[in-house]
Subunit: 456 residues, 2 copies
Amino acid sequence: MSTEKIPYKIYIEESEMPKQWYNVRADMKKKPAPLLNPVTKQPITAEELSEVFCDELVKQELDETNAYIDIPEEIREFYRMYRPAPLVRAYCLEKALGTPAKIYYKFEGNNTSGSHKLNSAIAQAYYAKQQGLKGVTTETGAGQWGTALSMACSYFDLDCQVYMVKVSYEQKPFRREVMRTYGANVTPSPSMLTEVGRKINAEFPGTNGSLGCAISEAVEAASNQEGYRYVLGSVLSQVLLHQTVIGLETKIAMDKYDIKPDIIIGCAGGGSNLGGLISPFMGEKLRGEADYKFIAVEPASCPSLTRGVYAYDYCDTGKVCPLQKMYTLGSGFMPSSSHAGGLRYHGMSSVLSELYDQSLMEAVSVEQTSVFDAAVKFARVEGILPAPESSHAIKVAIDEALKCKETGEEKTILFGLTGTGYFDMYAYEKFNNGVMGDYVPTDEEIKIATDKLPKF
Amino acid sequence: MSTEKIPYKIYIEESEMPKQWYNVRADMKKKPAPLLNPVTKQPITAEELSEVFCDELVKQELDETNAYIDIPEEIREFYRMYRPAPLVRAYCLEKALGTPAKIYYKFEGNNTSGSHKLNSAIAQAYYAKQQGLKGVTTETGAGQWGTALSMACSYFDLDCQVYMVKVSYEQKPFRREVMRTYGANVTPSPSMLTEVGRKINAEFPGTNGSLGCAISEAVEAASNQEGYRYVLGSVLSQVLLHQTVIGLETKIAMDKYDIKPDIIIGCAGGGSNLGGLISPFMGEKLRGEADYKFIAVEPASCPSLTRGVYAYDYCDTGKVCPLQKMYTLGSGFMPSSSHAGGLRYHGMSSVLSELYDQSLMEAVSVEQTSVFDAAVKFARVEGILPAPESSHAIKVAIDEALKCKETGEEKTILFGLTGTGYFDMYAYEKFNNGVMGDYVPTDEEIKIATDKLPKF
């Protein structure tokens, strides 16, 4: 098919959709460091992890040897409702930039959760249902993960309890109502339903809440209820595994038209979408079959890869989850409240951290006004109003395309467009009104946070 | 291909996308009544219409003979950014209902305007650009049309001035910001920028505004500026023509799998999406090639087809647009403010009105709590959070599927899913909280409004 004109949107057939996720750890010679028990500081066992996660997800979390893991038919059925996601040739953006580069993006926003989060939410809900659980608990900040999990739980008739950071609960009533429409129980955090919530409310009356506190409440709620587990939307290797459906579909679509990307770009918060997009390509690189340049893009206000340290750290502020070796700014690091998008996580997936440490992947950080500038440019020519998170990747894709314009190189650039910005219009309003600023933490601020990393 | 399993989503190839719109009037033996000049009450001439609309759109508005009208390549290029829209087999809904019926829907919500409105907005912007105009003016209520027009104008670098009903401007800041992000100038109406706006502000200080007033301001703004025209998002025959891209794509997709719908359902406000969906099928019926049952679904609170009269009426409250013969509740009719969705227009497309009058199409009205009930049911099994407008069609599609469950008939049901409800969460919140009511106008209320129809 390589002689055909490449369409604006490449959809693979349903029959071509991946039947297995790809586990990149199987092809890594040096594996990511093991998770540690937060109390004993020893590598965590499957049994210990099963107190937190579903049994099947524990297996996936610890599996470093099986390259391919079957996607159960029930999950594939759900995937078929909103997937395959289109691989889009950005003809209009190329024209607007006047670049000889060929730009492609994999668009994950065509579902009600508005992002790629649904890919893992449905898997986690499925395994919870399979294990006979009654429900799951989680936290949500901006609300994308909570929305995705609500949709997944509704589909499998599982109870879904979402602890939503109070300031988001009040400022994002629409996100909250989407979750409620899908039957989720959404509680502003800190609440009076948990011990930790009551304690924080007593200590800080009128507090706006924080993600760290919401996590602690969700974990407590899961452990206090028979038949519940706590679930997470990023960072973990199991989540990255589920998200490989993004990269696998992309590769199938590209192979159909003999397209080979030179550069692959993704935004990076906890790392699950980036990891999901690049995994199959990284596998080829690890096996010596092909070479690609991978770029992780993070916000200058929360630069874990570019300015963090590679060390064991807590995944959560409550320090109840396993310790993970990763690039981190310290679990106490909080990006400025003037930072608009997500990507606020202090650390990075252990898989991506290890790949970055082995120089198999690059990373850059970008400031938010330049990100919104790229977002608006993109929206006006490509039609899609992108999420602030996704726009980090757009910014760097445009930068790379403009480099090609200077050099005349016809590089093929692929980036992940993880979602839409329909629920982020407060941030766009700030930008449209010219009152959005940039924020970069000082070396001193980062040192203070990383000095508090756990010592062994 | 008829022996293959029908996929969840049928996408036609870009090369199969329609190259012409279909003009159903060409196949109607009895044509819709002509538009009348609002002053002389005589059939309006092309020259008179050209003061309001672009020349090419005037031609389309008056064309009753050409069955196919070429879609210019520039518009087709834009269509390729967000079309083809998927034709979805609602396997999960069928399973949840336990019906032997086969349910399909054409989903028009996968673009940033969130609805089908973009199909006509891009055409109208294109012809304005071709004519060398500087910009266009329009009004918007809920904001879908304004958003679509903003996107289209941004693409063709046309100035876009949107008069947004003040209460929406304040209550829907997100819609407003999407338009501003696409470069539109959004003014709360009534404003101090027009004579009519200043007059209304003086007469009713602190008024919330109305669609009728916003139309009047937009029309005045267009006539006061050199190189501007006023544009409309529904009701007109030209808009219905552009929207036939919906039905044409649907028919191509269905033909690929030898699917023949028995019943075709669409929600009806001004009628453009319904007309666009059914036109190619109606053409077959008019030519005696096939038979289909068509159902227009309107809100019980604004029942123009089911309870209105078929008569000449004003299209706008300001009475400046041409008179149109249509099913109408009277241009002074206002649905209760407790009515949540769109579909608030007092009249109906003259093409659809004539088809309904000839008994070629049926109509039903449904109450809003039953509509939201259907919307939530649909969202939970099909994943998509539908717009309240679109949910009128869902409600009746479910009703028809349940009839099949009783009779055991394996009917094929097709409905139009015009958009997503992401910006309608206030209404969902009301429904989720159990505080949404129903409203049906009394016969007396309708009589008062229709008694005021223009007399000849």
